[in-house]
Amino acid sequence: MFPFCFEWVWDMSHIVFMGGLWYALGIVGAGLTYCIIKAARESSDNHNDGHH
């Protein structure tokens, strides 16, 4: 799973498989982070708005 696992080999199948995996995880992670940060900012904005 990680290059520091002792079974890791830098061959094509590892790169393709793990590449695909981390690519997908990356998209999902980035998307989620984006949503959370945006929501956090918006909610604090709204909060402030609410006060004013």
């Binding site: 799973m1 696992c5 079974e7 199948s13 590892h14 393709v16 498989f17 793990m18 695909g20 995996l21 997908a24 995880l25 998209i27 999902v28 998307g31 989620l32 984006y34 949503c35 959370i36 945006k38 929501a39 956090a40 918006e42 909610s43 709204n46 909060h47």
Partner: protein, 412 residues
């Protein structure tokens, strides 16, 4: 009492009645939990599996629920990628069913493995050449995606919706849902396929083995395809069942009709591919290994040619024909028959790919291996059903799953 949690503008049964219903389901759930604990603490000798049946009821259940949960990715794919916007009226439910199916599958796998505490080795010491590794990775990643798809709906609960952060989060996630859906579809394509690959790559098991392209046997594509075809049918089936139980119309006919029509075409094309696959397997793959088709459908008390007919004709061609024709879809009885047959069909397919593969002898001096599950296996397989029903009950009660419910069931 719990009215604050119930979405606005819809009617729900009394809390008392709801509690009784949940209690009844919990009883079934507990039965399964007891069996599950027995398996964990006493070991898999609690099952009727044996050295000829390393894979049995649970693996079938896994494959089946994942195929049936395929409605989530395919409906998502249709809505977000293809742009069939009407499907927004059913996508929530498809996602919920998906979440249930996928969590159930993971639970069953956790019971099924001999050393559950080591099951994370599949990730840590991953063998990238194994179809099961691919399944494990894609399946768990996709479950994350499904949960992400489910979260906005959860946040729409009246109580949670009051929190600005969650409301915004829900809104934002809705906005980029296409990205998630696309990733989900990508992952689903692979794990559905890999599940097919699980059986198809077994070159020591002529019943399951299929040739293919590159590293993927034909079953890889057939599984994805059939999940895409039959998953939505299961979504429709559960929707209709929910309507029956709640005694309300929840989704408009045109939405269901659209989904069913697409399913019909998917099923139709799938079954053609399946027939071609079966023919190629029988005519070319098997004889090379010294087998003929009938070897796998004779000399045993259960697996006859009937099962092939049931899978391909009765649960394949017939429902496909009904679902493709608009007349068939209009006729309520025919329509439901087709939906049920399609669901059964994919279950039979997963059954034979797992159980018949184990049953059929390969060495000439061995006979057929027959198996029936122990009560522990049955109970743990029913456990997800109870769990699913409870999940749906709560979700239906407290979340605005069906956008058309208010319109279809106005409160006076």
């Amino acid at each position: 009492m719990d009215s604050a949690l119930i979405p606005e503008g819809v009617k729900r049964c009394s809390l008392g009645r709801f509690s009784v219903w949940i209690l009844a389901l919990t009883a079934i759930l507990l039965w399964g939990v007891i069996a599950m604990l027995l398996c964990w603490f006493k070991g898999l000798n609690q099952t009727n599996m044996n050295d000829a049946y390393g894979f049995a009821l649970w693996i079938w259940a896994d494959l089946a629920v994942i195929a049936l949960g395929g409605g989530a990715f395919f409906t998502g794919f249709l809505k977000y990628i293809v742009g069939k916007d009407e499907l927004k009226n059913i996508i929530n439910y498809a996602v919920i069913i998906g979440v249930i199916c996928y969590t159930s599958a993971l639970l069953l796998l956790a019971i099924d493995v001999g050393q559950p505490l080591r099951s994370w080795f599949i990730f840590w010491h991953a063998n990238v050449h194994s179809m099961l590794t691919e399944v494990a990775f894609c399946l768990s990643c996709y479950l994350v995606v499904l949960i992400i798809e489910f979260l906005p709906l959860l946040f729409e609960n009246p109580k949670l919706d009051k929190k600005p952060f969650l409301r915004h989060l829900s809104h934002n996630m809705h906005e980029i849902m296409a990205v998630f859906a696309a990733t989900g579809a990508f992952l689903s394509f692979f794990h559905q396929g890999s599940l097919g690959g699980v059986a198809g790559v077994l070159f020591g098991r002529p019943f399951a083995f299929r040739e293919g392209v590159f590293i993927w046997p034909w079953t890889f594509f057939l599984f994805t395809w059939s999940a895409a075809a039959c998953g939505p049918c299961f979504t429709i089936l559960i929707t209709r069942l929910t309507e029956k139980v709640t005694n309300k119309k929840l989704v408009k006919d045109n939405v269901v009709d659209l989904l069913a029509k697409i399913s019909g075409w998917m099923l139709g094309t799938y079954i053609i591919a399946k027939i071609f696959d079966t023919w190629y397997w029988a005519a070319y793959t098997l004889p090379k290994q010294g087998f003929s088709l009938i070897d796998f459908y004779s000399n045993n008390p259960f697996y006859g040619i009937w099962i092939l007919v049931a899978e391909i004709v009765i649960c394949g061609i017939i429902p496909a024909a009904i679902l493709i024709s608009s007349g068939g879809r209009k006729n309520k009885r025919l329509f439901m028959t087709a939906i049920i047959l399609a669901v059964i069909g994919v279950c039979i397919n997963r059954w034979v790919m797992v159980l018949q593969t184990m049953a059929a002898p390969v060495m000439t001096f061995e006979g057929w291996f027959m198996y029936y599950p122990s009560w522990q296996e049955v109970a743990t397989t029913i456990l997800p059903v109870a769990y699913g029903a409870i999940f749906i009950s709560f979700a239906y009660r407290y979340l605005p799953i069906f956008p058309q419910e208010r319109e279809l069931n106005p409160i006076d």
